[in-house]
Amino acid sequence: MTGIQRWRRLDRLTLVFGLLALLMALFILLPVVKTSTSSSPTTLWDTLRESEVYSSILLTMYAGLLATVVGLLLGVPLAYLLARHDFRGKRLFEGLIDVPIVIPHSAAGIALLFVFGRQFFMGKLLGHAGITFVDTLAGVVIAMMFVSVPFLIDSARDGFKSVDVRLEKVARTLGASPFRVFFHVTLPLAWRSIFSGSVMMWARAVSEFGAVLILAYHVPFLGEHPTVAPILVADRFSCFGLDYARPVAVLVILISLIAFVALRTLALRGQRT
């Protein structure tokens, strides 16, 4: 009788949906799991010790971190203002902020070239100040930031929205300046959303391929000229074939996965600052 009762809960809908869901889950998980386990630890270790590989991975992580830091510095204020103020055309503006997610990555790179390229506009301006973007670390950072910062802005905005504006009002009447209110009340309470947005931004930044390829293929970094890891994988694949590309792919997938899982766990746990 209990057997029947247990089976009864699996009605036809759940069975059909379960089957379809299983296909989707396998489709996502199989490639990840299969690739992660396809190279021996020794091969991976040897690959990591190649100077081209480790300088590439270092460059990717470092540029991703820089992009995230700059994104925090400029994106968090924007997110705060969007959460607290209403204005005409806000909806459209918020839509435009999400545009980098939509446009083809290589086209994003070209769009960035139009603004930051040596012969154009800001590029010229900043060039006079000695800052160039084409084939430099700054270019990698800018390409990464462009395609990934919308994730941070969206998440931070939702975080700020969930902080009761009356907490800020009370703090003001208690004698706190707007800056003190922001750093001692609003930011600590929205921190979790900002942090998990940063993790998403960082993850998206280090995985970027197209925009970086256009703007900054090989860049001078730590005395070498590495390229970012996603490009390295593609280069090895197109020049030497799958077998040669595999260990690098596995390595960057594993590193991305471990960093993402660790940071995500931290984001879910760290309710308090």
Binding site: K169, A171, R172, G175, T273
Partner: protein, 348 residues
């Protein structure tokens, strides 16, 4: 002291307009109005937290209309307290003093003193999300008062509490106001709160101040239906309660003494519903503890029932059926006895 002149605020749909308030130093001032009358926004406008369309606000003679909220010396306590959820109770109370950069030792001393005033020393280490409603309210008040504001704004501070906690909080509010001598503006929709706490009351109706005066003034000569309806639904008196055995008291309401079931002592307010008063043409022995002779001074016909005013003095409003009035031949000038039970008296 706080003075508000010609304040005009857009509530998105309707306007609060021509708001003039003059609150004396140390006064406990009540703003009374029905739900949705914009009372919270009025307080936020006074504190500089909501944009005003016109008007001025001065605190102790200084025009603060163009000052930032943190420069006005006006503190606000919201109905649901909004304590900082990421700070401990102690850090909540200390927040204001840290903002104005008091030395650490002085902060420690002030916080401890304020915690003693409110009897929340035990709670200082607690997480505010674990507190009960009454405890949160005490912390919110301590957090506001520790900064020694010139004016304290209270937004329905008692309405979210259960009846018992509410009564205790009400006494504590009165006590704190007496001890700390802070000027208070307290908005509410509850008449009994207004009567129990207010030195003066302003009634807000349809976005304007309908009436200002002592609670008695407003109740005796109401010029809004909102007040009038309440005034007709209660007999309200102020008196001195003295002990009469555990759980009972004799309340002197000026002229007569009435018996009530209460633990309150000293200055109190009492209310009695008109339908709880009996009228008889002769005195009689019953379990009702309160029986007084008086003269009928007014009869108002309300359909199936009649409102009878009997002057003892004071005046009592009584509600009787039309048949009863006819049968006993109740008419103006007649001598009658009114009787009500001790348990019918509400003391607050």
């Amino acid at each position: 002291m706080i003075e508000v002149r010609g304040l005009k605020v857009d509530l998105g749909g309707f306007l609060l307009r021509d708001i003039d308030l003059h609150v004396e130093p140390g006064e406990y001032f009540i703003v009374l109005g029905p739900t949705g009358a914009g009372k919270t926004v009025l307080l936020e406008a006074i504190a500089g937290l909501y944009p005003v369309l016109a008007g001025t606000v001065s605190v102790n003679g200084r025009d603060v209309t163009h000052l930032k909220p943190e420069q006005r010396g006006i503190a606000i306590v919201y109905q649901d307290q909004v304590l900082f959820p990421h700070l401990s109770v102690e850090q909540n109370i200390a927040f204001g003093l840290k903002s104005i950069k008091r030395p650490g030792q002085q902060i420690q001393a002030s916080v401890t003193r304020m915690a003693q005033v409110f009897g929340i020393v035990d709670l200082l280490g607690r997480d505010p999300t674990t507190l009960s409603g009454g405890e949160k309210q005490k912390v919110a008040l301590a957090r506001a008062l520790v900064t020694e504001p010139a004016v304290l704004l209270l937004d329905e501070p008692l309405s979210a509490l259960d009846p018992e906690t509410k009564e205790r909080m009400q006494q504590q509010l009165a006590e704190v106001h007496r001890c700390l001598r802070v000027t208070v503006i307290h908005v509410t929709h509850d008449f009994e709160e207004a009567i129990a706490l207010g030195n003066r009351v302003a009634v807000i109706n349809e976005g304007q101040i309908a009436q200002v005066g002592t609670p008695e003034d407003v109740l005796r000569r109401p010029n809004s239906e909102f007040v009038a309806r309440f005034a007709l639904s209660r007999n309200l008196f102020t008196g001195e309660a003295t002990e009469l055995g555990a759980g009972q008291a004799m309340v002197d309401i000026g002229g007569i003494q009435i018996m009530a079931l209460t633990d309150a002592r000293g200055q109190v307010h009492v209310s009695l519903r008109p339908e709880d008063v009996f009228i008889s043409t002769e005195p009689f022995q019953s379990t009702a503890r309160n029986s007084f002779a008086g003269t009928i001074t007014e009869l108002v016909d309300r359909g199936a029932v009649v409102n009878v005013t009997v002057t003892v003095p004071p005046d009592f409003i009584c509600l009787v059926t039309r048949q009863a009035a006819a049968e006993l031949d109740l008419r103006k000038g007649a001598r009658v006895w009114i009787t009500f039970k001790a348990s019918a008296i509400h003391v607050f």
